[in-house]
């Protein structure tokens, strides 16, 4: 290493040393000491600061309010809404139902299971009889001469036979 290189190293060291050199600042230590907060213990923050205390008080108050306003778990009884639609009174259609004794639960009778309908197994031959086509309406042609001159027109009422859709008309299975 030649002399020039050594002088360059010295120059680098000189400049770099000055780059991290600090001037005296006696006021800094005093400034730091004055800025120190109160020392607290591990859980001291809970008692030495107003924010955590306020939060704890708020939690207790809210919990008390919630506890005081709690309700029993009951189903609310709501009055039925009034309806303008007039419905006929329900008719008792099952005469065999016995009147329940007070405070007694009626046994539930088993319900006949509903068999799924499969279209492939439908017996069309034993289904309902086909509805007969209504007879042709016979309409007589009227001519002005056939109408009465002064009497009111009278049309005979149409007579439509009742369809045979009664319980007896179903074929037995």
């Amino acid at each position: 290493m030649n002399t020039n290189r050594d002088r360059l190293d010295d120059a680098i060291d000189d400049v770099v040393t000055r780059m991290v050199r600090v001037t005296e600042n006696d006021a800094l230590a005093t400034q730091i000491i004055n800025a120190l907060p109160e020392r607290v213990s591990w859980f001291g923050w809970l008692f030495h600061s107003w924010a955590p205390r306020l939060a704890m008080i708020a939690i207790v108050v809210v919990a008390g309010i919630v506890w005081g306003n709690r309700r029993p778990a009951t189903t609310p009884q709501l009055d039925p809404l009034a309806s303008t639609l007039t419905l006929p009174q329900p008719v008792v259609f099952v005469a065999s139902v016995r009147e329940a004794e007070p405070n007694r639960t009626m046994p539930v009778e088993p319900v006949e299971p509903v068999e799924p309908v499969e279209l492939a197994k439908v017996d069309f031959d034993r289904s309902l009889a086909a509805v007969a086509a209504p007879g042709d309406l016979a309409i007589e042609l009227l001519s002005p001469e056939s109408l009465p001159a002064e009497d009111a027109l009278a049309i005979a009422p149409l007579a439509i036979a009742d369809l045979a859709l009664t319980a007896e008309s179903f074929p037995p299975r």
């Binding site: 010295d10 040393t17 800094l28 230590a29 000491i33």
Partner: protein, 201 residues
């Protein structure tokens, strides 16, 4: 060559132990004594990280408050110096990052581009006589170093820390510290050669 001083190892200094014990009880004066004893070294550490004396002092102040509040976490009172320097370094690094982020967000040049302030040349008779041009060139080249190389190089230049302490501050092995300091010097010399400063008068 840059001298890395070897201060006394962290032996149990009874005065430091006593002051730490008093500070733990809330004695501000005792903590103030501790801070005063380490203030210059702490300011150099922070200055090596942030490059600006005002930023360095603010980092030291933040670190002092943090040390005061966390004093109970210091397990070995005799190790106060190394513990405090680590806090100072972390606070300075945080400040360096936040300043750089803030400047980049507002389109200003990053903190690395700001001129690094450094003290005037030593008027002592045995001081190295270098031109102002070379002085500025060296400062610029040092500032342009990668932070991985610049940080240990400047910490070593402060003359307050052993290689082991620098390694602890930077959380890297001692061998890596030595290599980075050597590599930083090699790069500085190479760049100065390119700038025509290889032969100072």
């Amino acid at each position: 060559m840059l001298m890395v001083v070897t201060p006394e190892p962290a032996v149990a200094n009874p005065e430091v132990v006593r002051l730490v014990a008093l500070a733990r009880t809330g004695d501000r004066a005792a903590f103030g004594r501790l801070i005063e004893d380490h203030l210059t070294a702490a300011r150099r550490v922070a200055l090596a990280a942030v490059g600006q004396p005002m930023d360095a002092d603010e980092a030291v102040q933040e670190a002092s408050v943090a040390a005061w509040t966390r004093l109970d976490a210091l397990q070995d009172p005799a190790a106060f110096r190394g513990w405090f320097m680590r806090i100072v370094w972390r606070k300075a690094i945080d400040r360096r990052r936040s300043v750089r982020t803030w400047l980049e967000r507002f389109g200003v040049s990053s903190s690395d581009d700001r001129p690094m302030e450094f003290a005037a040349a030593d008027p002592a008779p045995d001081a190295v006589l270098i031109s102002r041009e070379l002085e500025i060139a060296i400062a610029q080249v040092v500032k342009a170093l990668p932070r991985k190389l610049r940080d240990p190089f400047l910490l070593a230049a402060s003359g307050d820390h052993r290689y082991e302490e620098i390694a602890t501050l930077l959380a890297i092995p001692v061998g890596t510290v030595k290599w980075r300091i050597s590599e930083a010097r090699r790069l500085i010399r190479m760049k100065l050669d390119r700038l025509g400063h290889g032969d100072p008068r």
